[in-house]
């Protein structure tokens, strides 16, 4: 919250492959970028959904994994000194009277920029909400999908659902301050690190917490405050007290706040022109999977092309009096200097 007001040429929303390559194309035109992503690392879907899976349609690579592609792009854009802000979601994009934009993230950080590039892919990765009727009313009061303030959990009857590292790490961190701790998982097999699983089992053996094999049933409580819930196990339905519930079912893509920025949408995608990839709001561009236009193909390579053309248009907005000379990285000493080629 106490970060300074950031001023930059371009804010790129989304640090997937297309957002990353946009930094390269913008950088060749001397434009500085800040990138914001909801994940804790670059790569977007490539990092979250298929880091180890092969991609076969990146020009010049007969096969490359999502992680390799991300690593290569990070190396390629290194000379341009882009600043990354992870674990943040952009809530607001406001046009300023002076031209330019004010972009605000969910932690209240303000970025002032001349151009906004939405490269948000399928939207933002958000925690999966269990399909329990009425769970919405408890959210942010007694049902949480992440732990922001540990004090919220002090002296509470905590139930954590899941079998991965998030679930087990929070079981171990919150157990000492909880009134009671219960871990619910659908099977007696955990994806989490074996060391965490062993520690959890020791706590169970010592009677300091409970492990129940089953799945979420119903939630009960009033005014958003949980009091009990049911757990469906193989042969019975248990009712247990709960005042704080933390379900960890991984992430899913949601369009999220993009829908509220006043950009024209079509089937939840941002409409753009195919000359500049500009949205209905001049100065806001959309590239990659999040945009749509006649003939659109959701391919990484299309996003790269869109980023190159977008950058030319962004440059014209930011430096209207400068003549843009089209150059090749192979032969231009000027571009090579920017890339740090010796």
């Amino acid at each position: 919250m106490n970060e300074t007001h950031i001023t930059t040429d371009v804010v790129v929303i989304g640090a997937g492959p297309v957002g990353l390559f946009a930094v390269f194309e913008l950088g060749l035109l001397d434009l500085k970028c800040h990138l914001i992503d909801i994940l804790d690392r670059p790569g977007g879907q490539c990092a979250e959904l298929y880091p180890e899976k092969p991609i076969y349609d990146i020009p010049g690579f007969s096969v490359i994994s999502g992680q390799e592609l991300t690593d290569n792009l990070m190396k390629q854009i290194e000379p341009f000194g882009a600043v990354f802000h992870y674990n943040r979601m952009i809530n607001n994009v406001k046009k300023l009277d002076s031209g330019g934009f004010k972009v605000i993230d969910d932690e209240g950080q303000v970025y002032e920029c001349k151009v906004v590039v939405v490269a948000a892919g399928g939207g933002s990765f958000q925690p999966k909400r269990p399909p329990v009727p009425g769970i919405e009313v408890f959210e942010d009061k007694s049902v949480f999908y992440s732990v922001r303030r540990m004090e919220e959990f002090k002296d509470q009857d905590i139930v954590i659902v899941g079998g991965g590292d998030s679930a087990l790490d929070w079981v171990l961190s919150l157990q000492p301050l909880a009134r009671s701790m219960t871990l619910v998982h659908r099977r007696d097999n955990f994806r989490a690190a074996p060391d965490s699983v062993n520690k959890m089992k020791e706590l169970v053996a010592a009677g300091k917490m409970k492990l129940i094999l089953g799945q979420i049933g119903e939630l009960n409580g009033e005014n958003g405050m949980l009091s009990s819930m049911t757990i469906k196990s193989a042969d019975e339905v248990l009712s247990i007290p709960v005042t704080r519930l933390l379900p960890f079912f991984g992430l899913t893509m949601k369009l999220g706040p993009v829908a509220d920025w006043g950009l024209d949408l079509e089937n939840n995608l941002i409409t753009v022109d195919t000359e500049k990839f500009e949205t209905s709001v001049p100065g806001v561009f959309a590239i990659g999977d999040i945009n749509t236009y006649p003939g659109k193909l959701k391919l990484i390579l299309s996003g790269f092309h869109e980023g190159a053309l977008m950058s030319q248009a962004a440059k014209r907005i930011i430096s209207p009096d400068e003549r843009i000379i089209f150059q090749y990285t192979t032969s231009s000493t000027k571009l090579q200097k920017k890339l740090g080629v010796k």
């Binding site: 879907q45 979250e48 959904l49 298929y50 899976k53 399928g122 999966k128 909400r129 269990p130 399909p131 899941g162 079998g163 991965g164 998982h185 659908r186 099977r187 097999n189 994806r191 799945q215 979420i216 079912f249 991984g250 899913t252 893509m253």
Partner: protein, 106 residues
């Protein structure tokens, strides 16, 4: 071609002709069967193509791999008959296969 039937949670039945070698998930998408999201596109990393393979087909289709079983942790209302449809590859032996789609993919 292999006949695969999808049954939505509300009971709507979709009969499809699947291509051998394709996944059951791909067959659903190709035939616009609602309820199969397949967010990750078949990489076994999202658990949004969850189906139930019930009755005689449970054994015929077989159990999920360890990786698939891990991913099922991210699905809801998981049953012993739960599978991720991107991991079931259509072949002649599956002619007549019926899969049920859960109410929500998360």
């Amino acid at each position: 071609m292999t006949k695969i039937t999808f049954v939505e949670a509300n009971g709507t039945v979709h009969e499809t002709q699947a291509e051998n070698g394709a996944s059951v998930m791909e067959t659903a998408l190709k035939n616009s069967v609602p309820g199969i999201v397949a967010e990750c596109g078949g990489a076994c990393t999202c658990a949004t193509c969850h189906v139930y393979v019930g009755g005689e087909w449970t054994d015929k289709v077989g159990a999920p791999s360890a990786m698939e079983e891990d991913m099922l942790d991210f699905a809801f209302e998981v049953k012993p008959s739960s599978r991720l449809s991107c991991q079931i590859i259509v072949s002649d032996e599956f002619d007549g296969l019926v899969v049920n789609i859960p109410e929500q993919q998360g």
